[in-house]
Amino acid sequence: MKLEPSILSHSLRAVALVITLVSLVTFATVGYSVYAVASNVTNTLGGSSHTPAITAKVVVSGSVATAYLNVTLTNNGFYPIALSLDCSPPAGSGISCTNSLVRIDPGQTQTLNFAMTVENYSQYAPEGIHVDGLVQATLEPFASVNMTVDLGTLLTRGGA
């Protein structure tokens, strides 16, 4: 006698199939989104695009120097991207930052505007400013990348 699979067996098989399909679709779309954004950034940095992705400049006014960093990004993927740049200057250093955060929905272009102000700029050696910066890029809601960088380099490279 051949046993017919029960409704429970059919249901379990169907749920397993759904889980597998959801996983495959999610990984495919996340992979494509990462590829699309990465290739967009690469093309822009490589000069293939007319819009520069990253611009940095330093404005010195008297004893105050302000470093500006603008990051323009187009989201060609399927999921929203959150991009933030924070800094944590040493206490009493006279350095302050305007921390910034942008959320880029699919198909949109946004610019992240960041500014770092240094009081008594002339007191510092040209490469003597070190400010820890945290760059956070999140592919909502699946993955995130945190990068710790030295924002003091903005004042040397950006001003060059």
């Binding site: 051949k2 429970l8 379990l12 889980i19 999610t26 990348v145 945190n146």
Partner: protein, 151 residues
């Protein structure tokens, strides 16, 4: 004829050999190649897939899968199947350090978090671990029902 009786010894052996080959490739050879590649390409990576971990979990998973194939259709195969899927889920979780990878390159610290994606990866084996005993119990329940002519 019972489910056990319909599965021949030849089928069990062929299934066991296939599972042995597939599992060794999946859980020993590929992770070893991947680990060697990452440790060479990104030496500062926190991706620590040691050979001990690879061979331990490779042996556990392969052994359980082969034994479950050899006992297919018997009640004893259910804990073997469940155990192998739990081991697979745990192996994946440990291999990627719970969905967090960190590395340092050129003075820049990079940390990558992908916990939701990891949950999607371990969900199918964990569901399979639950599905195996439930499906067996469902079939046993039907088999245990009295024949309709006896009611």
């Amino acid at each position: 004829m019972t489910e056990e009786g319909r599965i021949t010894r030849r089928r069990r052996i062929i299934s066991a050999i296939l599972r042995l080959i597939i599992n060794i490739i999946s859980w020993v050879i590929i992770p070893t190649i991947l680990s060697n590649y990452i440790s060479t390409a990104v030496p500062s990576s926190s991706f620590t897939l040691s050979t001990t971990l690879i061979y331990t979990f490779g042996a556990i998973i392969t052994g359980l899968q082969v034994l479950s194939a050899l006992t297919e259709g018997m009640a004893v195969s259910i804990p073997l199947v469940t155990g192998s899927y739990v081991a697979i889920a745990y192996y994946i979780y440990v291999a990627v350090d719970g969905g967090t990878l960190a590395l340092t390159a050129a003075g820049i610290g990079v940390s990558l978090g992908f916990q939701p994606l990891l949950y999607l990866v371990v969900l199918p084996p964990l569901f399979s671990a639950i599905r195996a005993p439930l499906a067996y119990l469902a079939e046993e329940h039907e088999a245990a029902q009295p024949a309709s002519d006896l009611i």
